[in-house]
């Protein structure tokens, strides 16, 4: 009698555990489409159009000579390019990471404005010279081109 009861209990617990995992995966996946941010390289914007409705990440090289500071002292503008001819103008208010400089790779999180300007909420820091986000790694852009 108790043995049978224990068996039922084990079955109930097992189905609870499986259910919990399924619920987690289902909720996680359905939130993925609205909360995860897609990654755009300058070339992708041309191909896929401007994603205006959501936060995205962009990545590429900061074009040499494009970095300028706006009169408020805390906002900067620069242009991001890649091996294609496309570029993205970026605006950012804040303190940039230590390893952010012209001619170097960068990744930023933020939104596009209808005119194509990317307003960054965050510029992701590189932890050191060898660090690059996985997205940049494939593009062979981790090496500084300032030595040219």
């Amino acid at each position: 009698m108790t043995r049978a009861k224990a068996k039922t209990q084990r079955l109930v617990l097992l189905s609870l555990a499986v259910g919990a995992v399924l619920v987690a995966v289902f909720l996680g996946m359905s939130a993925m489409s609205s909360q995860a941010s897609l990654f755009y390289a300058p070339g992708d914007v041309q191909k896929m159009g401007l994603p205006l409705d959501r936060a995205v990440r962009i990545g590429g090289m900061v074009k040499t000579g494009s970095l300028e500071r706006l009169p408020d002292g805390v906002t900067i503008k620069f242009i991001v390019h890649d091996e294609t001819t496309s570029t993205i103008p970026v605006r950012f208010t804040g303190i940039v990471p230590n390893l952010f400089r012209e001619g170097s790779g960068m990744v930023a999180e933020g939104r596009f404005e209808p005119d194509g300007t990317f307003v960054a909420t965050e510029i992701l820091a590189k932890h050191d010279e060898n660090y690059m986000t996985p997205q940049l790694a494939g593009q062979n852009m981790h090496k500084s081109e300032s030595l040219e």
Binding site: A20, A24, Q35, A36, G73, V74, I95, N98, A125, H127
Partner: protein, 651 residues
């Protein structure tokens, strides 16, 4: 010489682990403990040898022995000694050696200290531990030799990443590893008990202190790592949902679930198969974390090198061990008898709920961490960041914390739901009042931080309630431990919620003499001045700060430039008050006399880490209580054997 000695010790340790594994598996049979006298000293000797090898590496770093490749690549003679010392594990090979050393030392400690576990199961446990060690010795010796000599001896080393040049490096990785790798003991216990069909109460009671020990270190390591990232990176954040952070969070979630299910098994002999499964899962999470961090699949400050061969090696080990343990589980689960039945409303029921919620959160964190890797394999690059993690995990985490407050108020086996509701009515009303207050006073606070505070306040109160009606002097340490740990969680949650609800942030381009207001503070920028340290120079922004009508104090955030390797870092200046922290960072000059300054006022932010530390302290109290209880139990057994009336007889 030292390098060769270290390498030799490592080879010896590997040979011993092979012997320990062979003998152990050959001897392990239910009821047979013949070879324990051999296996035990082997495990201890293996732990000692691995320790010697690790000490040899530290020696090489302290000496800055430039004939060793690893030292050349990661050290420099000008470095302060603390960073030479800690630099030994601030790189791939060294940190893997630390990993293996902890694994071997943990195995040695089990051999030396474990007296409660059935002897045949202990043989199985030590054999399993040696099997894991052997794989990772092979990884070190064949793919990541830390003692490799360099072909030419350079004039000096290349130095250590300046972000790692911080006292945090001396503390955070060893602590984290003791927890991370220490959980391997639970894995080996589970494997041993499956082999000898020993899954039951005694097994759980033997395993519990080891799980607790590893969990304490893991908690401390995560807390320390979070504070380190907070003050060192200068971004003002304390958790980024970075994959490497998740890699430490996943074993913690699994270990927390295990800690609670092992208690059910030890006390009530229920949840047998589930506990064994969790022990396997917990260490699997550690290995997956190691794979993610060390394989180069993810790149971050924790991934020191990118080398696909190493990645596939760890992946192979990972599949072998996790797959092997799961296969054993599948084969033997039918021999694990069902545990004792219980009602839904009971202490067991609440702990099952705790385990289910922790499992859901664990799955979500794992999904968010691995999903970008999966999609990238199919060509879509996405990033899963804080918005996703916060949205999906917060509801479950909040539920978990609420039930954490209620669970200890329930009786084992069965209890009355209405009684529980009566007991927690006051705290629940208090929570509702908190929510209402926040909505009225600060209507622009977001939903999650508001809920966080509305949960933290009542749960802090509830977590103290197990003490009500007890004689505090005679309350066992174990109860104090639980109360402290649960209170710590509520405290930490309050800190997180308050930080995200009430933080103030100001970004200015300031000229000398300019005054800014932030929260209750007035900050006057007095100008920038040069300063220098042993291997860096810096520009420090001098700020004179005043809180209301209080006394003035000076804050000096720095923008540092390190030599060897040449790297810029920013050092935040942080002023701690009883109710929060003022966090200041200096950015770049605009070339016309103004400097960028970023100021944050973060109310109650320190509660996050005080809470985390309290959780670890709670674990420590519980561990002490367990060890003392075990010792007095053993004493009363020997007393009885000697004819002295034992405690039970006197009681």
């Amino acid at each position: 010489m030292i390098a060769e000695a270290g390498l030799a010790a490592l080879w010896f340790a590997a040979a011993l682990s092979l012997l320990q594994m062979g003998l152990g598996w050959a001897a392990v049979r239910p009821g047979n403990d013949n070879l324990l006298r051999l296996v035990r000293p082997l495990a201890v000797a293996q732990g000692l040898l691995a320790g010697i090898s690790f000490l040899a590496l530290i020696w090489l770093f302290l000496e800055t022995d430039l004939s060793v490749k690893l030292v050349v690549a990661n050290s420099h003679s000008d470095k302060p000694w603390l960073y030479k010392f800690a630099g030994a594990w601030g790189n791939h090979e060294g940190s893997m050696l630390l990993w293996v050393t902890v694994l071997a030392v943990a195995g040695g400690a089990v051999a030396l200290l474990e007296r409660k576990l059935r002897k045949d199961t202990l043989i199985g446990t030590l054999a399993a531990q040696a099997t894991i060690s052997l794989g990772f010795y092979a990884f070190l010796l064949f793919a990541s030799n830390p003692f490799e000599r360099s072909p030419v001896i350079p004039i000096d080393g290349q130095g250590l990443n300046p972000l790692l040049q911080d006292p945090g490096l001396a503390f955070h990785p060893p602590t984290l590893y003791f927890g991370y790798v220490g959980i391997s003991v639970a894995f080996s216990f589970a494997v041993g008990a499956l082999v000898t069909r020993d899954v039951g109460r005694d097994f759980a009671q033997a395993m519990r202190p080891w799980v607790l020990g590893a969990w304490i270190f893991l908690t401390l390591g995560i807390t320390a790592g979070s504070y380190w990232a907070y003050y060192e990176l200068g971004w003002g954040g304390w958790w980024f949902w970075d994959p490497v952070e998740n890699a430490s969070l996943m074993p913690w979630l699994a270990a927390t679930a295990l800690l609670h299910s092992v208690t059910v098994l030890a006390t009530r002999d229920a949840l047998r198969a589930w506990t064994v499964m969790l022990a396997v899962v917990a260490f699997s999470m550690s290995m997956i974390g190691t794979f993610l961090v060390r394989s180069g699949i993810l790149t971050s400050v924790h991934a020191f090198a990118v080398d696909p061969q190493r990645g596939s090696f760890i992946l192979m080990l990972l599949c072998l061990y996790i797959g092997g343990a799961l296969a054993l589980f599948a084969l033997r689960v039918s021999t694990v008898r069902e545990g004792a039945p219980f009602r839904v409303v009971s202490r067991e029921g609440s702990l099952v709920l705790n385990n289910l919620l922790l499992t859901i959160i664990l799955c979500l964190v794992m999904l968010g961490t691995l999903y970008p890797l999966l999609t990238e394999a199919f060509g879509t690059k996405i990033s899963v960041g804080p918005p996703w993690f916060n949205t999906v995990s917060a509801p479950f985490a909040l539920l978990l914390v609420i039930f954490m407050g209620m669970g200890p108020l329930l009786k084992w086996r069965k209890d009355d739901g209405n009684k529980l509701l009566k007991r927690v009515a006051v705290p629940l009303l208090l929570g509702a009042a908190t929510a209402l207050l926040i909505v009225i006073v600060a209507p622009d606070v977001h939903l999650l931080p508001m809920l966080g505070l509305a949960v933290a306040v009542p749960v802090a109160l509830m977590s103290l309630m197990p003490l009500v009606g007890r004689n505090l002097r005679r309350t066992p340490l174990i109860i104090w431990g639980m109360v402290a740990a649960h209170f710590g969680i509520a405290m930490s949650l309050a800190g997180m919620a308050s930080e995200s609800a009430f933080s103030k942030e100001v970004l200015v381009s300031a000229r000398p003499g300019q005054v800014s207001e932030i929260g209750p503070f007035t900050v006057r920028f007095d100008g920038a001045e040069p300063v220098a340290g042993q291997n860096w120079t810096a520009i420090a922004g001098r700020m004179t700060v005043r809180r209301g009508e209080g006394e003035e104090f000076v804050m000096l955030p720095e923008a540092r430039m390190f030599s060897d390797p040449v790297t810029a870092t920013s050092e935040a200046a942080i002023e701690t008050h009883w109710d929060g922290q003022l966090y200041t960072v200096i950015g770049e000059p605009d070339g016309q006399g103004a400097w960028q300054l970023r100021l944050w006022w973060k109310p109650a932010v320190t509660l996050i880490w005080f809470g985390g530390s309290l959780v670890a302290i709670g674990g420590l109290l519980a561990l002490l209580g367990r060890v003392m209880r075990r010792r007095s139990a053993r004493k009363s057994v020997t007393d009885e054997a000697e004819g002295v009336p034992g405690r039970e007889a006197l009681a």
